[in-house]
Symmetry: C2
Subunit: 788 residues, 2 copies
């Protein structure tokens, strides 16, 4: 492998290839016909609706062709992430030029007819979006919503030592919060066991209508900023193509030398400290090579070239002339032969086979996508000799299972969290691994090491982005997060769920490992924090996305959590959201029962119910650990004092069971639903989240008008879990009252019990405000009902 200077002939070819990509990009945005300009351009050759983003496109074409050169020269295993996203035309053009587009979409042939199809489908009804969307070969990051490119890039190279990700960060994107902190990913990258990210900050100076911040600070500040972020920045700046080709080629050669040196030093001495990885700042005009000026207004090098620089060449003959001149300046006749095929000497520039960035398997689920090696989750069961046996905290039990998954999959599984893995009680994982951390370690630190399977930075965006990058390249992972703050990545979840929906529709796309999210430290247990940390609404947000990709689980105890997590980690192409408690809490189901219950996803707790022989008078339903506890406590009160009431306890683990089967593949059919919830009996439903979600899921059910839901209604702050349920009317005493209110024929004993419940609430109120902890009756409560 040589790093000799690229010669002028090569640079001329590179320039021609770049012109070809630019030509195809402009063609996609504008041309409805006459793709090779064999005839003079006419109004009717122009698309009727002009949509797309030119501004970022020529710069990305420039980068892509130069990366092609170094891939070939140094035999690099490289993929390309386009942060700006909107530069769809560039990536479509380049993957078409290198041949991958036609291999995947055989009707988009490498000739005039195929070129016309390529042009027409772009930003066209029934065609492809203007972004680097799932349809685009080589893409694992659509962009569109900006901010996550660099986190995705780092996620992709973890445990991929051979992989290099060229990550183009737009200077607009660079203003987003997630991107601004993603630069710090370099403090977490292992220089030998992980791959390399080459960030290329594309400083084209403008967003939609504004200049960008980073393009308008002093060059010294810009340099300091990236040195401060821990990089070695190289600037490639200018607009003259010949000059820029030379600079870019030389800089890339230097970057490769730097990377090799870092690698070699790190291999020689594993603890050589954190390397200063190179990054490139490419300062080139927005809309480079596009119209300099339109109607007397500057366009190239300006925000006006963001979308479509010429807005009406289909109606305005003067603008049509400008467009024709623009296209012809690329000299298409030198680039494509008579048939419209890229000339051989240019086609030879593209890397070969899977080295082509559009064909690299890493951007399509990875070259060696495989299932996790899973230990038998049953072996982690906690014994439940009697119902309500004390458990150490559900996530604490889970921790051991995760620990052994971690050791069994040393290069294929990572755990992500914003400094919450210990707080969420997954401590056991640190028996076998550490947090990966490339910065200095002090004597008082715990569980830090240059390599490790746990990734923690105090940024939910970063954790989610890393994990997504890891999954998109075909590995497995789990994100553990406080329930309230998972809303920080609502929008990232949206984009990932949309990616899953779209890729599932493309037969050539592999099914990815699921995005697994464990929400611990949930709404009902915010002892240290209070109101700001209470929000169970992420699941509301999740169920808005396509039923084919979302799953929500609320295991009531540790054994159920084990069973659920075992399932989730074995699935593909879903987002699985699991809500679980971390505090010591009662356990209900021995493992064999837990497996059956979780496999069904919903079911009757027959051991808690007394309606075996008859129809129930009331159904007490529950979902979530705390609501299950309160429901069962209410049942024990009712069965003690009003044994004549026939109660059925239904517990929901898989929330999607509640939806009609027409809406979600997990949904119960109406017969089964009615069999559980009856057609006409009152249902008191204690729910982990906002109560309306249950109504939303069940409004089509026969007995919906009888379903009375208790859940979180934005009340309560710093207090005990039990007091939280009281403040939100979800506690055992309120639930008993709810049942009594709905069974009016009960008579005096019921009235007495209702009064007792109200008294208990007052006693509780006074006790907790005096002592700061729950009264003994609550603390010492155990499941116990009289034999029927």
């Amino acid at each position: 492998m040589s790093t000799k200077r690229t010669d002028m002939t090569d640079l001329k070819l590179i320039d021609a290839y770049w012109r070809a990509a630019n030509y195809l990009s402009v063609g996609q945005i504008y041309l409805f016909d006459n793709p090779l300009l064999k005839a003079p351009l006419k109004l009717e050759h122009i698309k009727k609706a002009l949509l797309g983003h030119w501004g970022t496109t020529p710069g990305q074409n420039f980068i892509y062709v130069h990366l092609n050169r170094i891939i070939s020269q140094y035999d690099l295993n490289m993929i390309y992430i386009s942060g700006p996203g909107h530069g769809g035309p560039a990536l479509v053009a380049n993957t078409y030029l290198e041949g991958t587009y036609s291999e995947i979409y055989p009707d988009i042939t490498r000739d005039e007819e195929g070129m016309l199809r390529l042009f027409r489908q772009f930003s066209f009804p029934g065609g492809i979006a203007s972004h680097v969307s799932p349809e685009c070969p080589g893409s694992m990051h659509e962009g569109g919503e900006l901010g996550y490119s660099l986190s995705h890039a780092f996620g992709a190279v973890f445990d991929n030592p051979d992989l290099m990700v060229a990550c183009v960060v737009g200077d607009g994107e660079a203003e987003t919060g997630p991107l601004a902190t993603a630069w710090h990913s370099n403090k977490f990258l292992h220089p030998v066991k992980d791959g390399v990210v080459l960030p290329i900050l594309h400083l084209n100076g403008y967003k939609i209508a504004n200049p960008t911040v980073l393009a308008r600070i002093d060059p010294e500040e810009l340099d300091a900023l990236f040195k401060g972020y821990g990089y070695k920045p190289y600037v490639v700046e200018g607009s003259d193509p010949e000059d820029m080709h030379r600079k870019m080629a030389d800089t890339l050669d230097q970057v490769i030398r730097d990377i090799r040196q870092i690698r070699e030093r790190a291999i020689a001495n594993e603890h050589a400290g954190r390397p200063r990885w190179p990054m490139i700042i490419l300062r080139s005009p927005k809309g480079w090579t596009g119209p300099k000026e339109v109607d007397g207004v500057p366009v190239e090098g300006n925000f006006r070239s963001h979308q479509v620089p010429l807005s009406d060449p289909g109606e305005n003959p003067a603008h049509l002339k400008l467009l024709e001149a623009w296209l012809k300046q690329y000299r298409p006749e030198e680039l494509f032969d008579e048939k419209g095929t890229l000339r051989e000497e240019l086609a030879a520039l593209a890397p070969k086979g899977e080295r082509r960035m559009g064909a690299n398997p890493h951007s399509n689920g990875g070259p060696s996508l495989r299932d996790l090696r899973m230990p038998d989750f049953r072996e982690y069961a906690i014994p439940v000799k009697e119902r309500s046996a004390a458990g150490p905290g559900d996530t604490k039990v889970l921790g051991k299972f995760i620990r052994d998954i971690t050791s069994s999959n040393p290069d294929n599984f990572r755990l992500f969290g914003p400094d919450e893995t210990l707080s969420n009680k997954l401590n056991a994982v640190f028996e076998v691994t550490n947090r990966q951390w490339q910065a200095p370690v002090d004597s008082g630190d715990e569980f830090l090491s240059p390599s490790g399977r746990v990734m923690e930075m105090l940024s939910e965006h970063q954790c989610e982005g890393w994990l997504e990058g890891y999954l998109l390249t075909g590995r497995h992972g789990l994100f553990n997060c406080y329930e309230a703050f998972i809303h920080i990545i609502d929008s990232m979840f949206n984009q990932h769920a949309k990616w899953l929906k779209m890729t599932a529709e493309l037969p050539w796309r592999k099914k990815l490992p699921s995005l697994n999210i464990l929400l611990a430290s949930h709404v009902w247990r915010q002892d240290h924090n209070g109101f700001t940390h209470q929000d169970p609404g992420f699941i509301d947000h999740v169920v808005n996305k396509k039923a084919s990709v979302v799953r929500v689980y609320l295991p009531p105890d540790a054994n159920c959590l084990l069973s659920v997590m075992d399932h989730c980690l074995s699935t593909r192409h879903y987002v699985n959201v699991v809500v679980a408690g971390k505090h010591p809490s009662p356990q209900w189901l021995p493992m064999e029962e837990a497996v059956v219950h979780c496999t069904k996803g919903i079911g009757i707790f027959t051991w808690a119910s007394n309606d075996e022989k008859t129809a129930p008078d009331v159904v007490m339903a529950c979902a979530g650990d705390v609501p299950t506890l309160e429901t069962l406590a209410a049942v024990s009160i009712l069965r003690e004092h009003l044994p004549e009431i026939r109660i059925r306890v239904v517990n929901v683990v898989d929330l999607m069971k509640l939806q009609p089967e027409s809406e979600h593949s997990h949904g119960l059919n109406d017969r089964d639903f009615d069999a559980l919830f009856t057609k006409d009996k009152p249902v008191i439903f204690a729910f982990h989240g906002y109560p309306w979600l249950i109504h939303r899921l069940t409004y089509r059910r026969t007995n919906h008008h009888n379903i009375h839901v208790r859940g979180y209604k934005e009340e309560g702050t710093i207090t005990t879990a039990f007091d939280m349920t009281v403040l939100n009317d979800l506690d055992r005493f309120h639930l008993v009252e709810d049942v009594i209110d709905r069974l009016p024929a009960l008579g005096e004993k019921a009235a007495w019990l209702k009064q007792l419940m109200q008294d208990k609430l007052i006693i509780h109120y006074n006790y907790i405000r005096e002592h700061g902890i729950d009264m003994p009756e609550i603390r010492d409560w155990k499941w116990k009902v009289p034999k029927q």
Copy 2:
């Protein structure tokens, strides 16, 4: 005003004041009794549940007391924002010491009894949270969820030239994305017309369980990073109190000199360029002055002091001794007199009156909170001589109204947006103002100026954070954003809505101007972008919060948008979400009708209905501009072909009208709801968002089982607005079919019409895929129905 060096006596007093604050902080976390340690500490003096965050607290106490000094010395108008948030004990202690706490809460007296109450209420059921929550005087930023302190700080000083905000940024918080980009706020601050933010990066080294990134990079990198961010960083580092007091005092004096110099230079020459504002990096031990070691494990200066360094002094006599020694090292007897009152010479250190940071009116709605001066919105009306008159785009019409609000309130209103104000078609505002921008301006730029009323950076977090800071200090504003990407600030909305809920319960807190969010570029109009830009779920998210603070509006046309926005901008203490279109679209209501319709919030379009004399056969309901268009187009088809059907058209502007009045103050009572929607007739509801939201809002209504909702169901990508409705079954043809399907007795004509609708869908499908635009019948459609 002198800047002479603080003398040793003063520093000794400052140290004593700091010890007092630390003593009160530890007392809050631990003590249930014996507040002044007059008796030996016993197990029963300790709280039963120990909750709180010690780690950040002593550092914040240190900062607060030093800020007190410079406030007094330089007569500064200063407020304090605590980014770490969890340091509640520090701010409670300090506002108690300076007297503001007792003024607001007279039962928390400045004596032993009051001190005991202060201790007991902390992190105690019925008491106050561990954060700088709304109950804490001087707080306008609770923290809890991390990341927004610096954006809030800058928002607070816009148009507050006299105000200085000391913003303590935790090094944990500094890892979040929003905070990482918030540093760039300095590129937007006017050095004379706005106030000053003094960021203090509190580098105490640790998060919950991990070291922080910024504490473990090389000092040169840290320095470069903040120079790169455009600041002049000063480091105050150490752990010896005497030494640290000296350094901090000297540094603060230097900072004040720098700030004065910047101000003076900027006044002398308004375009002197962007100043390099000073910032402080305070590197002090986490849990400073707390137990050095517990059970042989280091605690001070370590993550182990994050929450409660001694976990069980109420049960463990050895730990009790440690706690007693810890408390006694502050020498309370030197700080408080026999009665428990702060000694006079210390009390004298606090600033006076409203200069006290706990009493500064800026953190409680500002000193001059006033309503906006509003022009008459009716004057911006567009004439609607006939229904479906062409409008230029609803937000474009709104732009002129916003323009004049901007000019009428030159120091009291700002418009915020992530580079989308032009894209969202509020162009008119640039007739009277610019985007505020402190960086260089190039010849091709538009609408940039060192001062301006429009704040644009490509970070929804930054825009939202700035606006919140602006509102919390009593000014008004509007955030304009693409609908899909408003999810980026879901979590910020949560925190702000929670702040509003809590402050509304505190009589001493002023009612704040509402947070107004305009969502343009909505789900149905993503011509350039497609699937990634389609998500109408923010309103689902919003309605989970307390009904008392959230409002959602879906005006069907420009005149309605004007009326709605006029209302929203006049309200207090709400979050108002308004969804509107930006593309040319049909107009329905002349202004006088629009005012009546929007005031009611829901109503019958009598001019579109033909059920005047009788009960309707079907109700066609709609909410949102595109659904209203499709509904009316469907009605015109039905009335032409099946005039015998009695149709009532109900349009919903105020979404909360659909909820029961028991759930939301805007909710219709059942009688009025039934009067609109009937008790038994089919309702075909065309909705802007996810259809389930309508079910969630209406499930308790009499006729709910007859409500059939069409809305967005995650289908479609780049295409026309009409094709988007087709792909989601919301278009006129599907709606006609829906009506026919629900009125089975219609006979042959209806069967023919249904077939016609299906044919139309096929014709549409073929046309749009051939031409890329809608067929003429759609493009040229006008409202027209035969006279009855």
